[in-house]
Point group: C2
Chain length 408, copies 2
């Protein structure tokens, strides 16, 4: 047999199976209540609408939507995206948009387009595990920047940039990667002041700013904060959006918005990444938007997730033991709550105790490029049923109580 290990690229050799996925296999039993997945609630999927729209698109457009699409995406979808984003203050032309096969494809194209091995990307602490994996595949050096309940601190970013330069380790500074709205995993939304501050620092140092915005439209309450794309004066922001959290993941329709020259480059790269996204899926989403169904269904998503967040937060207040240093975020939208344990407690040990109680979550270390945040973890509140949320938090409370006492 051929020895593949000897043939693999540096990327393939360094790519590890996700430790988190392996760990979560321990929790893959029906009796386990999982708060682990970053999943929307399938109960909300408008299955009949998607079925009807598929039939309609195939009837109206026939063979064309089963053929190859263009790399840049279907004009019809772009028109609807422009209208959709305009409601959020985003002004875009078709040339500013590239349709993606899921926004993970955008996360893969960012380092492909910008990173040579050893180049540097600044990220929030914590940051999204899927972005870490994509950046790591291209040999990116990630620098976690101090982040609090208002988001990444621009002064900390400036300091991190200066320190990197002073250390003289080489590696060109390329971008700042942010999830400004209802962040994954923290649930935190970046304040307008912080957004302006980070844009200013990035502009000064000539860095691209990535605005990863899968949860932006899932606001439960409070004022929307202007998006980085709308605040940007330097044509230095690329935004990634997706329908995976506001409609369904299964159509794999997402999109990037950015300066024309950058979208051009991404489009050329997309030709060799997957040629094009499905025309059929693009037209189904376009019809969904055109028919005003987003306005009809999205509020149901928001109402459901708000209710579930409330149930989870209430259960946490009720069932989690009162420990010095134990705290958690109270997000105004999105899918996630972030828990910080007292510093001396290891979330991985708690994980094993929790799985014995039949409840699961994702370790904080998954959201740090080099395995920090060992006393933190992420809870998802969108996927489980309300009763299961309460029961799961009660189990978590028991596990934490026993674990904290044993570690005291």
């Amino acid at each position: 047999m051929l020895d593949f290990e000897k043939l693999y690229s540096t990327t393939a050799r360094e790519t590890k199976k996700s430790a988190i996925r392996e760990l979560l296999k321990l929790a893959d039993r029906p009796e386990v209540i999982s708060f682990a997945g970053g999943w929307p609630s399938p109960d909300l999927f408008p299955v009949d609408a998607i079925s009807d729209l598929t039939v309609k698109v195939l009837k109206d457009r026939g063979r064309k939507v089963l053929h190859y699409s263009k790399a840049e995406g279907e004009v019809r979808l772009k028109e609807e995206l422009i209208r959709y984003m305009a409601k959020d203050g985003v002004q875009a032309a078709p040339e500013n948009i590239l349709v993606l096969t899921g926004s993970q494809q955008g996360l893969d194209m960012l380092p492909k387009a910008f990173v040579d091995r050893g180049d540097v990307v600044f990220v929030e602490t914590p940051t999204y595990v899927g972005a870490i994996q994509s950046f790591a595949n291209y040999g990116t050096r990630m620098v976690p920047v101090a982040t609090d309940d208002e988001g990444m601190d621009p002064e900390a970013l400036e300091k991190a940039i200066q320190e990197w330069k002073e250390r003289g380790e080489g590696g060109r500074l390329k971008m700042v990667y942010l999830i400004p709205d209802f962040q994954n995993p923290s649930g935190i939304t970046m304040s307008e002041e912080r957004r302006l501050g980070v844009l200013e620092v990035a502009a000064r140092h000539g860095l691209l700013v990535v605005d990863d915005a899968p949860y932006r439209d899932l606001r439960f309450e409070g004022e929307s904060v202007p998006s980085l794309y709308t605040l940007d004066k330097n044509e230095s922001v690329i935004s990634l959006y997706t329908f995976s959290k506001t409609l369904v993941p299964g159509l794999r329709v997402a999109w990037a918005v950015g300066p024309k020259s950058l979208i051009d480059k991404f489009t050329t790269l997309k030709q060799s990444v997957d040629l094009c996204s499905s025309a059929l899926a693009q037209h189904v989403v376009a019809e969904y938007l055109a028919a005003g169904m987003m306005e009809q269904y999205l509020p149901k998503f928001i109402d459901d997730y708000r209710a579930k967040r409330d149930i989870m937060l209430k259960a946490m207040d009720e069932y989690l033991p009162k420990l010095d240093g134990l705290k958690w975020t109270r997000p105004q939208g999105g899918l996630f709550i972030w828990i910080t344990l007292p510093e001396h407690l290891d979330a991985e040990k708690l994980f094993h105790a929790a799985v014995k109680e039949d409840v699961a979550f994702v370790l904080g270390s998954a959201f740090h490029p080099y395995g920090g945040l060992k006393n933190c973890f992420r809870l998802n509140f969108s996927f489980a049923e309300p009763d299961r949320i309460r029961e799961g938090v009660a189990r978590l409370g028991r596990a934490l109580d026993v674990f904290a006492k044993a570690s005291a």
Copy 2:
């Protein structure tokens, strides 16, 4: 505005817009008969069947198929693929299969998994333009190996390997990339002897063999040659298949078959490339296979393409001028005919003359990593209507006649 050129990776800087695509824009007028695209005939797409199956899948499986799928692909589709491939003598287990979002995704993952900048891949002369682009994106050095009407010559491969080693330019030798059946662009099918010969040379030098097989099931006549995957005794072959040419491109369903450890590695990489392929599209294809529709519809594709090939070859015999050194292939399947002009004639000049006559094709140089094959070009016969094929070849004949006389 941010200066992206200064920030781009080597990949992004080196990636050029396809010269071919730019050239073909000249031919993007309705009066031009295009033999350029590598497209199936949309008239053959089973639109109603796909519409009905989508409704059925959504009714039977509901929300699940609109959720995230697994990176490795849906079990249900893998079962059907195993049955489908078994008819071709391919024995595969689910662990040997990775579902891809179009086989171009496989072409992108090959260099991602195997190529560090400067590493070497051996290719046919000519070879597929989409593979050239993907390999180029990862800084692959491609070595075109002498190829005749029986496919790549194993002795030429051995010689190319020896010469590379002797030159001592560095770069590790990684794989041999082949399209053994009805090759794109040449239409040539590799003989069994050549297949065994290339496998033997590759095994001796520890190289991966890629069997890119999008056209394999489009045989019009003659005996099928055993696939590289079935001939391989060394677990050194990965095959790429797709439904883009035998069903529709628009579902973006393709798959890779290979040794378990390699499929494992590709699956890990796919997690960060696009998370997963559409579960809905996978189940539609699975139902199509399970219902025996491939057996029902594929013969229609084959009959149509055979008839069109015959029409094109007959028109070529009739309309192309008799020139010393002018020749073309007579493929037993697939989508393409490859034309070689007398050595002194430049296909790019002919292209401009042809476009004036309102007919288009793809230059041979697109199918060579470093722009060779300047006296060759590719004709597609699957897309245009029969009348248009005859008329297009007549136009091509006129353009070539005038051009040859002017160049004499």
